[in-house]
């Protein structure tokens, strides 16, 4: 320990006032101190090392590995080497010649024999929908035999092989490293001449979904602020005994399972549910005009506001607790109205808590999956739901990875901001 060497340093300094300071065993003090500090650093680091290694192996590396798929996909290039070679040798815009058709036929035959033709077709299917079956059916036919001239033979099997869009997609897929998935994730595509253009208006879904995710998250953050601020203020100003009791009403939802709370909202909001029943009973709406409050954006907003509200209240509360009430009293005594005192004295002091809560709620909301999937319907889906859909339904894993990379990037920027403004070690739970 650095402190332990201090007394020794003092004695040796007294013994030899002119030379460099040494410890009792004659080593230079600065060296000795540096060594003991290095040892303390190592000790602290070794305590953290097992967990750091665990997180790196089970969390950081898997995510990195998954993100690699967003720009690396060798489904086509690894299984179709000859035609990939031809694409590499001939610039974009070259009409496929005999050599190209021969290479294609050879690759199709080899790939069909290897039973990898499905993978190849799937890769091209990402860029030109509907082409997977073209590959698998042609694969079956070439295994029965194919004779030169290959162009005519393949076109006879299926005339779609002449489609220039298909050849463009094959050229794009002939190199394993591609930016196409990122282009697709921002609703862009590569035209036949290689330039980048927007996809058709009715296929532009990703940018819209990102915008919706950010817009809904901002709205939910604002709603949690509007609902959480008065609650946090009340809890912070009440005497401890009362506020501890009321705090349970905030902590109970916080500790209750996410699925339980989502289920509750499904029960409450359905058309035959409790809220609609009450509204009908009160005569606010007729029995036939029951409100559609769930399986749409409204469902997502209501349920997520409820679920994320404690994440706003808790940081706000812990900051408000520390605000000295005499500042507001001083302002009042100097003639400020209660509104002015709140606006100019109290509110600015709550800003650290507000920033912490708002950033946390926004970060969590942007990545939400379960609740929108259950109560969001079609219009309440967020970007997470589309990633899940690409993972489990369309099996376009590279696309899922590209969307995940964009989402992760924005979350990490916000997290960095959170760390700068609030500090991750100030994160408190309950």
């Amino acid at each position: 320990m650095a402190h332990a060497s201090d007394p020794q340093a003092a004695t040796s300094a007294a013994a030899a006032p002119d030379g460099p300071l040494t410890t009792a065993d004659g080593k230079p003090l600065a060296w000795s101190l540096a060594r003991s500090q290095a040892r303390a650093r190592r000790r602290a680091f070794f305590l953290v090392l097992p967990l750091l290694a665990f997180i790196l192996i089970t969390f950081v590396v898997p995510i990195g590995q998954m993100l690699q798929r967003s720009f690396y996909n060798d489904g086509f290039s690894a299984n179709m080497p000859e035609i990939s070679q031809w694409f590499a040798e001939n610039p974009r815009g070259t009409e496929p010649n005999d050599a190209a058709w021969t290479a294609l036929a050879n690759d199709l035959l080899a790939s069909a024999e290897e039973r990898s033709i499905g993978v190849v077709g799937t890769r091209i299917n990402y860029d030109v929908p509907g082409t997977r079956s073209l590959f698998t059916s042609t694969g079956r036919k070439v295994r029965r035999g194919i004779e030169p001239p290959y162009r005519e033979a393949l076109l006879e099997m299926d005339e779609d092989w002449a489609d220039p869009q298909l050849w463009g997609a094959m050229r794009d897929a002939s190199r394993p490293v591609t930016s196409n998935f990122y282009l697709a994730a921002v609703d862009r595509t590569r035209a036949e001449d290689g330039s980048i253009e927007q996809v058709e208006p009715r296929q532009r879904i990703y940018v819209m979904l990102f915008m919706r995710t950010f817009w809904l998250s901002a709205l939910i953050t604002f709603l949690t602020f509007a609902l959480g601020f008065p609650i946090a203020h009340l809890l912070a100003t009440l005497p401890m005994r009362k506020s501890n009791l009321l705090m349970i009403l905030v902590l109970l939802p916080f500790w209750t399972s996410l699925l339980v709370r989502t289920t509750s909202w499904m029960v409450l909001l359905q058309q035959q549910g409790v809220i609609n029943d009450i509204l009908v009973w009160m005569g606010v709406i007729g029995g036939s005009q029951r409100l559609q409050m769930i399986y749409n954006q409204a469902g997502t907003i209501i349920a997520m506001t409820h679920i994320l509200l404690p994440f706003m209240i808790l940081p706000l509360y812990s900051v408000m607790r520390t605000i000295n009430p005499s500042y507001v009293r001083a302002a009042r005594s100097l003639g400020a109205t209660s509104w002015t005192a709140f606006r100019r004295i109290y509110f600015p002091q709550t800003l650290p808590g507000l920033g912490a809560g708002a950033l946390l709620v926004f970060i969590l909301a942007v990545g939400y999956y379960i609740t929108p999937a259950l109560v969001g319907g079609a219009s309440g889906q967020l970007i997470s739901n589309l990633i899940a859909q690409h993972m489990t339904d369309t099996l376009n894993w590279s696309m899922a990875a590209a969307l995940a990379a964009l989402l992760l990037g924005s979350v990490l920027i916000l997290y960095w901001l959170y760390d700068r403004l609030v500090g991750v070690d100030n994160l408190k739970l309950g």
């Binding site: 602290a44 995510i63 109970l252 399972s257 029960v267 035959q272 939400y368 995940a404």
Partner: protein
Amino acid sequence: MAVPSYATRLERVWHYTYLVLCGLIFFFLIAPIVVIIPLSFNTEPYFTFTEKMLSFDPEGYSMRWYDSLLTFGMSAPDGPRDASWWADSWANAKWVKAAKNSIIIGVFSTLLATSLGTLAALGLSRPEMPFRRAIMAILISPMIVPLIITATGMFFFYSNPCELLGLIGLPTDCGRLAGTYLGVILAHATLGIPFVIITVTATLVGFDQSLNRAAASLGANPRTTFFRVTMPLILPGVISGALFAFVTSFDEVVAVLFIAGPEQQTIPRQMWNGIREQISPAILAVATLLVLFSIALLTTVELLRRRSERIRGLTPQ
């Protein structure tokens, strides 16, 4: 908080409006959780209050949905309720199996997360710790990174955990972790770790390091110092961190959806299936039981927090 004596009439009106508003917000927080409790005793398979329930007719209420938790998935649910019926339920009923799985996975992932997390928190709280901020940010990140991204990454990693060894020329095929208990336990431990770190470092902030030095100066070795001095003092924080980790695992569904096999169905996974496919009020019975469970946990954590504050010499509340 009372209205100050110098308040104007308008301020008084505002003050009471404010109290009413707060009451409504508290109602918004708590009502959705409370409302499912009576509904879970509904005799009819509806998700709303029937007329019989509203008139407090005993016929409107029953335990049938709780009973169905024991029978759903059994091979002979209608038989006489003797020993073999209970054995059948224990072995086959889907909710019972899910509960067993949730507890096994929860306990082991909690043990892993708490031991590793406490050790790391001890290191992180030392003033000499290098790269403290960056390492802390990495260790907390499983809580911040969207679950779907974590689950997707884990899906590929756990299907073939040795793929990376290929980079250094080692064999790349060593079986799957996906679809095994170990895989789910590791995944849940990863997700629970931030909560342990946050809770234990928060406890260590108030920890007086001179106590350790005193023990060392009296001749205790680091091991003894840790188990006789440090551990008893930070134990409340460690336990509440463990409870957080357990709840995280107990409530986790996204990672389970991606990496668990049919053998590792947990309660949330079973609820997810129930909500998406054959929605029955049995879900409400499960939800009610989970609410009671969270009340018990919340009480424990609150008691621990107060105990920890008392030990550290803060004002008792």
